[in-house]
Structures are given as C-alpha cells and as structure tokens.
C-alpha cells in the first residue's frame, strides 16, 4: 500500500499553488495587445463628407488655394516684369535677394523668389483640385449637383493650368490624384489643347447663373471668357491663329445678356473694398476678405495698398497700419493716362498730396539728413518739414548695382502710386476686403475688338472701333474714337486693366515685352516664358529647363 507522506503532500500542494500563481500572473502579463485607438476628434473618411453641406465644405480647399498668391505675388510677377510697376530697394530694405531687380531688368534666373513661389502656388491649386475631384467623385451621389460641383473644380484647375502655361510654357500635366510618378514637361501647345478640351468638357455642366450664389466660383461665362483669352493668345502659345474662335467665345458671353459695362460714376468703385457680386462687369472674381482664414503656405490676402501708398499717407486713407509704400509705376506706363477727362485717372496718386478735404497738405517732419541722406550742408540734424510731393521718375541714387533708391524721404516719395484697389479703412489690419476680378465684361468687348483687328471676322454688326467706344463711353467724356488700330487697343488696355495682372500677357501679345523701360534694356525673346524654378526641378527630377535658361 502506498502511504502518502502528509509533509510531502503539503510541500507539493504549496509548490503547485506557487506554480499556478506564476502561470496566472504570466497570463495576465501578456494578455492585451490591442493597439486600436479610435479617432474621435478628426474628420475621418467614415464621417466626412457625407451630405450636401459637407460637399460644399469639401470643395472649399480648391478656392482657398486659388486665392493664395493671386492678389500679391502673382500680380507682382505679371507687373514687376513690365513697365507697370517697379520696386527698387530702399537702403537695402526691399532688396530681397534681388528678386525685384531681376524682374525689372529681365535677368531673372530659376532662383527668383516670385518664380519659385508662384510655381509652387499653381502646383498646389492643381494638386488640391485633383484631390478634391477625387473626393467628390468617390463620395457624392450621382446627379446634377455632382456634375456641376466637379466641373467647377475642374475649371479652377483649368485656370491654374492656363496661368502655368502662360507663365512657364512647358509644364507637367498632372491630373490624377494618387498618381505619384513624376511627370516630365508637356510642350506648351499640348498644355493649351488640354486646357481647351477641359473647358469644353465642363461647359455643359456649369451654371449659367450670375449672382451672389455663384460669385467667386466659375460659371459657364467664366469658361467662355477663359476660352476667349486662350484663343486671343493662341498665336503666342501655339503659333496658330484662333481669332474667329475668340470672337465666338466672346459672343457667347455677350449674348448671355448677364453683364454690362459699369458706368463712369462707378468704374473706380468696381475695385473698392466693398466690391462684390453686385459689380455688373465681374464675370469671375476672386473674393478677398480680411477675416477669411487660410492654412495653405500662401498669404491669401489682398494687400495692394501696402506696397503703393506712401508711408506718410496712412492717415489720409485712415489705414490701420503704416504701409511700406515701396512700389510705384514708371513714367513710360503712366504716359498712357493722357486724357484729362478719363475717370480712370482717379486711380493714381501724383504730385503734391492733400488730406481727404483736398486742401490740407500732407506734411512730414524729419531732419535734413532724414530728408536727403546725401545732404552735405552744415545742419544735418536740423528739423525739416515738407509737403509730400510724389515725383514721376525713379532714380537709383544710393546704388545702381543694388537697385537702391536710398532710404530717405526723397526716395520714399519717388514714383506715381496706384490706388485702384483702394485702401481699406474698415480692415483691422493690412488685409483688404477688395475682391480682385479675373475676367471683366469690358475685357470681353476689348478682346473681341482686338480679335477683329487681328483678322477675325466681325459678328453681330460690331466693329473694332464700335466695341472700344462701347467701353470708352463709360470711361471718358472725350469724343468717341473714329478709328482704332492695334496700338490704340494696347493703349486702351493699359488704361482699362492697369494693375489687374494682365499687363505682361498684353505686352507679349503686342510684341512690346522686349522694349526698353526704366533701367531695363534686355531684349531676350526667350524670356516670354519664365524658367522652371529651382525648387520645382529639385522636387521633380524629370522636369527639363525651358530653352534659353
């Protein structure tokens, strides 16, 4: 018989319990390996976008991106490269790596800040549009709302491609979100074809409405206006004349009856801080508002007055900040404003300056040296008070090599200033409420007139001169023109579209981009398109530099 030893049993029992305890603890130790953390505070694809209001919000990023550089850096690229604007350094300030100097001299390289920044901006609009189209395509239920929503975003993308083709010529065509293979340049003419077909494919789905519900987003007439701009410049872009097509596109907008020329009394108001959907001429405008928010790496604001209004005139315009006043026009450009009866003269600040009452002089108190840094008299610190007097010429008194006018009152009061985008006294800061038009009805009439002069067949009983007079009659009380030639069209465009980002485009089409103005003598024709900027070449090794650069 087997007799259990009680002591041994006790020991075995204890050992067993210990082992059990260890196993249990080990089990507890390695039980949980769940790493799932639900996301409850962000917009995940499960919850967004999934209803009509959310589709509107999901479309928004394309418009926030489009607003990006349009009113500032894009304008500056179009304007600083022409006789419209010059921004010399002031004692080294505003030299900014020579980016303003090389734009003026036509010696820009792939390193220029504007060229890099604007390429990046246009690429972003296209990238955001591709992504937005993909989101709407995969989430929205089929129907008219979806077709129109996607067509509008495609128009934003088409406009971005148009700007890119107009500025940089041969650009990569990226149209599918999620395709990460780096593309090489597409020749300019093929980019033109893509944009043309894209616009045509959108037209059937675009809204024909022109009111507050559509303002800021492209409608059918935006599409025709962009086509007209493409066809008017087609000879520059592709070598093929498309003037009849231009006239046909203009006729679509004219026939819509949705737009009319703003009368003389309200021409200047078209660009005031309170402009908006009520403007009769605005076919497509980019709305700016100081309270809009933006998370893209672009300024996304309109700050025209910051650059144009002299520092001493902040009070005159009740501005909430001291403007920089570093930019002005050149005498060559201002010379076109030679009709004293033209309301468009009202957009300039010239000569002696007065407060809003028109009689109180605007004065500045400084010292002799503060007034003129080259003062050699015996009293450099003597107080000097003078009335602000804007002089037409730009003189690089401090250094021609550094593009520098000096950092004194003489330099700060050089050059005539443009206040078309009138300073916004209601803003809390330098950001202005003035919307910036892209296409105006007067441009439709001017484009049609020019297309006729360039060989297009007149339609609807209009002639080049009748179309131009249709615009001029609402701009000046001078007698109507009896004849017009291309030179006359150019002069009229300078007066009509000053500071609206079309001057570079006009100068190239009229063959004037190689002229001399200011300090610029360079006549390289390859500069009609800008170089592919350095940052773009770094991010996409398949890109090739444009000819000449």
């Amino acid at each position: 018989m087997y007799h259990s030893n009680p002591l041994l049993v006790e020991i075995m029992k204890k050992t067993f319990l210990h082992i059990l305890a260890i196993i249990l603890m080990s089990g507890a130790m390695f039980s949980c390996h769940d790493l799932y953390v639900p996301v409850t505070t962000e917009l995940t694809p499960d919850v967004f976008p999934s209803n009509a209001a959310q589709y509107i919000s999901a479309s928004g990023p394309a418009y926030v991106a489009l607003r990006g550089n349009y009113a500032v850096e894009y304008f500056q690229q179009q304007s600083f490269s022409t006789d419209e604007t010059i921004m010399p350094a002031r004692g080294g300030n505003w030299f900014d790596g020579g980016q303003n100097q090389t734009m003026h001299y036509h010696t820009w390289t792939q390193d220029n800040g504007y060229l890099n920044g604007n390429w990046y901006w246009m690429s972003t609009i296209i990238g955001v549009s591709n992504q937005t189209i993909n989101i709407l395509r995969t989430t929205m239920p089929s129907g008219a709302a979806k077709n129109t929503g996607i067509a509008e975003i495609k128009m934003v993308r088409a406009f971005a491609y148009y700007m890119m083709m107009d500025n940089y010529g041969n650009v990569p065509l990226d149209t599918l979100y999620g395709d990460f293979t780096p593309k090489t340049n597409t020749p300019r003419a093929q980019v033109f074809d893509f944009v043309e077909k894209e616009i045509q494919s959108c037209i059937p789905f675009l809204s024909e409405v022109n009111d507050v519900t559509q303002y800021g987003r492209p409608n059918k007439w935006t599409a025709y206006a962009l086509l007209a701009k493409m066809y008017l410049n087609a000879e520059v872009y592709t070598g093929t004349k498309r003037y009849d097509d231009c006239i046909a596109a203009c006729d679509k907008v004219i026939a819509s009856g949705k737009y009319s020329i703003e009368p003389r009394a309200s021409y200047l108001q078209m660009f005031y801080p309170n402009n908006g959907p009520q403007m009769k001429e605005f076919i497509f405008a980019i709305p700016y508002n100081p309270t809009m928010s933006n998370s893209f790496p672009f300024r996304s604001v309109n700050i025209h007055a910051r650059y144009q209004v002299p520092r001493s005139m902040a009070k005159r315009f009740s501005m909430p900040y001291t403007p920089a006043g570093s930019a002005s026009t050149l005498p060559e450009y201002y010379a076109y404003f030679n009709d004293s009866k033209d309301v468009r003269n009202g957009q300039w600040l010239t000569g002696l300056q007065y407060m809003a009452d028109g009689v109180t002089p605007i004065t500045v108190t400084t010292t002799n040296l503060g007034y003129d840094q080259f003062y050699k008299g015996s009293n450099p610190t003597e107080v000097k008070t003078f009335q602000v007097n804007l002089t037409p010429d730009i003189v690089l008194r401090q250094s021609v090599a550094s593009f520098d006018a000096g950092n004194d009152e003489v330099a700060w009061n050089m050059g005539y200033r443009n206040i078309k985008f009138y300073p916004d006294a209601t803003s809390l800061n330098r950001d202005q409420n003035n919307d910036v038009p892209v296409f105006r009805y007067s441009d439709i009439l001017m484009m049609k007139a020019e297309a006729i002069l360039r060989g297009g067949a007149p339609t609807g009983g209009a002639t080049a001169v009748s179309l131009v007079n249709q615009v001029r009659s609402e701009r000046t009380t001078s007698p109507a023109l009896t004849t017009i030639d291309l030179e006359g069209i150019y002069a009229e465009r300078v007066r009509e579209f000053a500071f609206e980002s079309w001057h570079r485009n006009d100068m190239i089409r009229f063959g004037k981009f190689e002229n001399k103005w200011g300090f610029k003598t360079n006549a390289d024709t390859y500069r009609r398109i800008f170089p592919i900027p350095r940052n773009a070449l770094q991010l996409n090794p398949n890109l090739k530099q444009n000819p000449g650069y």
Binding site: I22, M25, S57, Y63, I135, F180, G216
Partner: protein
C-alpha cells in the same frame, strides 16, 4: 532727440533675486518607511516682467507584508509652477538692439516714444510694459509598486502609474499694443519656418489656453535570479502598456476690452462682436491626440566569476501611430564585457586595480515626434472661402496620409574600456560609439502637384553619429586635511546626414532653413540639410573682401567675384555648428570643514552664424536704426555689408567658468545634526573670441548655431545657502 538710451539695459533689471527652500522629513519602522519633502523656488528673471515660482511636494510610503515577502510602495509627486514672461520676447530682444540710442524711452509728456512710420520698429520697453504673459503648470505623478518574492528565486513586480500635466496660460496685449503694433512681425527661433505678420484686434486682445496631458502606464515583469557556483544568472520577462492623451482642452483669443487692467483674467468683459470683422480664434486644429504603446520584453544577464559578462535583451514594441501592418517592431540588443584584471595573466601586476573591456550592439525604435494620426487619411480645416454670400469652412486633408509609416530604428555599436589604476588614484573610461538612425521619420518635401500639403511624414533618410568620450577621475592630492579630486570629460562627436530622401517620392534631397528675415533679406537662408553634410551645416554667401569702390563682394557660383550675388545659386558650404570637442572639468577641494567645488566647461571647433551682428551692420541706415560701433567704420557706400555671409560666421569656441561653490560644515551644534553654510557663483566668466553677446547659442534641434536675438540673456548668479539637518 539727443537722448542716450542703452536699450539692452532698459529691458533688463539691474539685479534679480532668487530664493530656494527645501524641507524634507523621513522616517520609518521595521516594516515600513516614509519620506515627505517640500521645495519652494522663486526666481526673478533678468528681463523686466519675468519671474518663476515653483512648489514641488513629494510623498512616498513603503510597506512590507506577508513576512516581508511583499513590498508595497506608493508615491505621489506634485509640482506646480507659475511663470511670468514677455510676449514676443525675441521681437523685444531684436528691437532692443535695433532701436536708436538717441531716442528716449519716454517723451517729455510721459508717453512712450515711438517712430511707427519706420517699418518694423517698436519701442521695446513699451512692448514689455504693455503686454503680459503667464504660464502655470501643474504636474502630478502617482505611482503604485508591488514586489512579491516567490520561490525558486523568482520575483514578481507590478508598477502602475498615472501622469497628469496641466497647463494654464494667458497673454494680454493692451490697447496701446493693439493700436501701435498691429501687423508687426514675430521673430521665431531659427528653423524651417518663416517670420509671420501678427494681427491684433482693437482695444486690447487677450488669450487664454488650458490643456491637459495624461498617461496611464502599467508595467509588469517576472525576474529570476540564480547563482550556480561561479555562474550567476539574472533573467527578466515582462510586459508594458501605456496610453497617452495629449492636448485635451481648448484656447480662445478675444478682443475689445473695456479697460486695460483686467488683462487676460476676465474674457467675459471682452466685446469681440463690437469690432466689425474680428473673429474669435480657437487656436489650431488637431491638438488632441491619443496614442497607445505596448511592449513585451525579455532580458538575460549572465556572468561567470564576474570576469565574463553577457547581457542580451529583446523587445517587441507596438505603437498605434503606425499603419496597421507596421505597428510592431522587434528590437534586440547584446552586450559583452571582459574584466581583464581578473585574468591570471594580469595577476601580480600592480598597475591596474580594475580593467574592463566591453562591447555592445543594440537597436531601438522611435515612434514619437509627429502627429499621432499621420498614417490615416484625415481632413481638417484649410481655411474659409466665399460661398453664397457667406464665409464657409473649407475642409480637406491637412496632411498626407502615410499608411506605410513604420518604426524609425537606431542601431548603436559601443566599445569601451573602464580602468582603475595606481591604487584607485586614477580611474576612468574611454568609449567609442557609432550610431545609425535609419528610416528616419521626417516631414519630407514633396511636389505639391502630387501631395497638395507639399510634404509627407515618412520613413526615409538616415543620420550617423560617431564619436569618442573620455572620462578621467583623479585623486590628485590627499595630504592631511587637504584633498583635491578632479574629473575631466572630453567628448568628440561627428554628425552626418547620410540620406535625406524618402522612397515614395523622388527629389527634394536638400532643405534650406534658418531664415532670420532681416531687413532687405527676406527668405535668405543660412543653413542646409543635405546628405553628406552635418546638421547645422552653414550654406550662404562667401565673403571675399571689398572691391575697389569699397563694396562687399562674394564668390559667385562660377568662382568669379560678384557684388550682386544670387541667393541659393551663389551659396557655399561654410562650416558647421557641430563642435569638434566638448570639455567638462570638475574639481573638488576639501580642507577640514571647508569644501570648494569648481566646474569649468568648454566647447571647441564649432561655428556660429552671427546674424544679429549682420543685421546691425548697415552703415547706411544709421539715420533710422542702431548700428554696431564696428559698422561705423564701414564705408557708407558698402550697401552689401550686412548680407548674411561668411563674414558673420565666427568661431564659437569658449571656456566658461560655470560654477564655484564654497561651503563650510559645522558638526553637531545642539539639536542640529548637521549645519552647512555655502556660497556659490554661476557663470563667473567666459573666455571666447565670439563677438556676440554669448557664444552659447542654441546648439540643439534642427538648426543649431544661429545667433538671432533668440536667447534669454545668461545671468551671473551669486547664491548663499544654508542646509540644516535635525
């Protein structure tokens, strides 16, 4: 006019007083013990309106049970701090160097002097006195520990802890500030960013924010300790679980206060809707994040006769931040050591008391430093846009989703020698290491036409650090009541970025960074991140003296000299911020009851980009802004003098007399067990050739070695103290 203001002194206090009190009590019995301590610090900052107050309380209790087989520990630490600081401190520091000394702080009518027609030019004293900023922190750490001794040499440990940190901040800009300084630029620390335009409301603006971070941690492990004759084994297996929540809370910025003196303390009195167009801000999107980390680990220590030592471990770490298929990573490490002094062949020698050679290799993983939801497709606010007459929210992807994101790995190889010789008179160690980080998680630049946010957080580049460290301890003198012990540390590290591309997208192999944004130098960068180059690589214009007409010229990309260099294109590699040698030297002297400790520190062979100096080097702006005395000797015709170039890259080497403490210990006076009286001085002097205020500029992060008015002035501190034990 005609004043003589030292603006840098004007924003500082002449002296600042600090106090530090410590009280601790501890005790215990046979089966328990406890300790309690309280620490109070009050420091006056050297800049006007800056100070810090901190209280730390600690309590810990240990209790033994089950015949001392079970040890239970419980501890709580709470620390609270309350700091006053200066809003836009870097801008204030910048203005204090820029403001003309001929301008007074106050006009004769008692108002602040300002010349606002001069862009980006503000009275720094007025900036300080018309704004406030306060940050309060409260940190709580509670932990519970249990250790149970089991049979067979086993021990079981369970640790639970809870961490909670709260911040409460406020800032206020009064009506003077919002009227005069709207649209000013900030002056961020050097890095990838640009300066930005600061917007304020009207009649004062106040901001309040309150955020909480919490972590819950569970760690449990089983240890087996066994000795068999000459063999000893120590083995551990364990598991840990951690859940973190950060950014739970909110912030709000409002404006239009009825008076100036309520500061940020009563936002309810603000009337933001009274300002047309003003919008209350709730701060950035995506602050709240939750993450989870789970690990299994095992470790084995083996040693034979204390002569051969082996340590091996392996961890399997999981993190919720990675894509579903990449959450887990396995990280092994192994180390061996050989105590040569125990070997027969070294017996009988009397040079080495101890000599140990060791080597190790290990891999660790990193899962932090980026947004917790990076691997997922998430939309957020991208701004507002005009839709049907109203400003409508625009929502879309705010970052590129990267479902392939996985652990960043760092492998480290280490070889070292520890030695003690001459009867322990001299001991020390020498150590060589080589550290490779691969699959570096970084925000890589991407063509925005592909990824509209322009960057993607991905595994890509790699970085290498290798170096040598030497430590020597010497008992130099020991005679009677006098002794002198000395410790010397020398370290050399070489850092290089070995790759900076990510496998998803081509291109973008270099990044320009550090933009001080001085006048006329918008966007001009000082540094580059690039493969084959270290962090802190300077990349800017190369100064080549002056041309015949006295204008600064630079070496162009084509090697020819130019007075009109092109940013980027004409940049050159100009040395780096990485020091070649770091030195630490500590000396302890004792004589009777006196003791003296002296610590000296040095950094050698590094470069500093003195952008502060460059921006004050503009002789032709003397009528508008302050310039350096040195720059007064420059020709006024040299319009390029201030360009950020090699002219302003200086040797950053220095030796700092960091601390000296002299103490006297009284032995047993009445009920006092010990009384110690001491005095100490910090930062007595610096020996350096550096021309800036202090060579110890920011040396860490992504953009080290740039001096741009972004430092809190270093102070010389004198301290008197008493320690009493009962």
């Amino acid at each position: 006019m005609g004043a003589s203001t030292d603006w840098q002194s004007a924003i500082q206090k002449s002296t600042a007083i600090s106090t530090n009190h410590n009280l601790s009590v501890s005790g215990g019995g046979e089966h328990s013990n406890y300790s309690v301590s309280l620490n109070y610090v009050k420091k006056d900052g050297i800049l006007l309106n800056s100070s810090l107050e901190r209280v730390i309380g600690r309590l810990s209790v240990e209790q033994y049970a089950l015949k001392d087989k079970l040890k239970l520990g419980f501890s709580v630490t709470n620390s609270t701090s309350d700091a006053e600081d200066i809003p836009y401190r870097n801008t204030v520091l910048l203005q204090s160097t820029l403001y003309l000394p001929v301008s007074p702080i106050l006009r004769s009518d008692g108002t602040y002097f300002e010349n606002l027609q001069n862009n980006n030019y503000y009275n720094p004293v007025a900036m300080i006195n018309n704004s406030q900023m306060n940050t309060k922190y409260s940190n709580l750490i509670g932990s519970f520990k249990a250790e149970l001794k089991l049979p067979f040499g086993l021990t079981y440990n369970l640790n639970l802890s809870y961490l909670n940190s709260n911040s409460l901040s406020g800032s206020f800009y009064n009506s003077y500030y919002t009227t005069n300084y709207n649209n000013m630029y900030d002056n961020p620390d050097p890095g990838l960013g640009f300066h930005t335009n600061q917007l304020f409301g009207k009649n004062g603006q106040a901001n309040r924010s309150s955020y909480q971070n919490t972590s819950k941690i569970l760690e449990t492990y089983l240890t087996w300790n066994k000795e068999f004759g000459e063999h000893s084994i120590d083995a551990v297996v364990g598991y840990s679980w951690q859940n973190n929540k950060i950014g739970e809370g909110f912030q709000v910025t409002t404006s239009n206060m009825p008076v100036d003196n309520i500061g940020y303390n009563n936002l309810a009195l603000s009337n933001p809707y009274g300002i047309s167009g003003y919008q209350i801000s709730f701060g950035p999107d995506g602050v709240y994040q939750e993450t989870r980390l789970i690990s299994d680990f095992a470790r084995l220590n083996y040693n034979y006769k204390s002569k051969y030592l082996l340590q091996a471990s392996v961890r399997r770490d999981g993190s919720s931040v990675f894509g579903a298929n990449n959450q887990w990573g396995v990280f092994p490490s192994v180390g061996v050591a050989w105590r040569l002094s125990q070997e027969n062949f070294l017996e009988g020698q009397n040079i080495f008391d101890d000599l140990k050679l060791r080597a190790s290799y290990g891999v660790t993983g990193n899962a932090s430093g980026f947004n917790a939801y990076t691997s997922q497709f998430i939309s957020g606010s991208l701004g507002t846009y005009y839709y049907n007459g109203a400003l409508t929210g625009a929502f879309g992807p705010t970052k590129a989703a990267n479902p392939d994101l996985q652990w960043e790995k760092t492998s480290t190889t280490n070889i070292g020698l520890d030695f003690t010789l001459a009867k322990s008179q001299l001991s020390g160690s020498i150590e060589f290491y080589n550290k490779n980080t691969t699959g570096m998680i970084y925000s890589y630049s991407v063509d925005p036409i592909k990824v509209p946010t322009g960057s993607i957080v991905a595994n890509g580049g790699s970085i290498n650090n290798k170096g040598v460290e030497l430590t020597l301890n010497a008992k130099l003198i020991q005679q009677g009541a006098f002794s002198w012990n000395s410790t010397l540390n020398l370290a050399h590290n070489s850092n290089v970025i070995t790759s900076l591309t990510n496998p998803l997208f081509a291109g973008g192999d270099s990044v320009l960074l550090s933009r001080p944004e001085g006048g006329g130098q918008s966007g001009r960068s000082l540094q580059i991140l690039k493969a084959g180059r270290p962090l802190g690589q300077f990349f800017a214009l190369e100064y080549a003296g002056k041309n015949a007409s006295g204008v600064s010229q630079f070496v162009g990309a084509d090697g020819k000299l130019t007075t009109t260099p092109v940013d980027g294109k004409d940049y050159k590699y100009l040395g780096s911020a990485q020091p070649k040698l770091l030195l630490g030297w500590n000396n302890t002297f004792k004589y009777g009851n006196f003791d003296l400790n002296v610590f000296i520190r040095g950094v050698f062979g590094n470069k500093i980009f003195n952008a502060t100096r460059a921006d004050l080097f503009r002789p032709n702006t003397a009528q508008y802004a302050n310039i350096l005395v040195d720059a007064g000797n420059e020709s006024a015709a040299d319009y390029n003098a201030y360009f950020y170039s090699s002219r302003f890259i200086e040797d950053g080497s220095f030796i700092r007399f960091d601390n000296a403490t002299l103490g006297y210990n009284f032995k047993k006076i009445g009920v006092l067990r010990n009384l110690r009286v001491y005095g100490s001085v910090n930062n007595l002097f610096v020996i350096t050739g550096y021309k800036g205020i202090d060579p110890e500029v920011n040396q860490g992060g992504i953009a080290p070695g740039v001096d741009y008015n972004n430092f809190y002035p270093k102070t010389r501190t004198f301290l008197l103290g008493v320690n009493v034990s009962f």
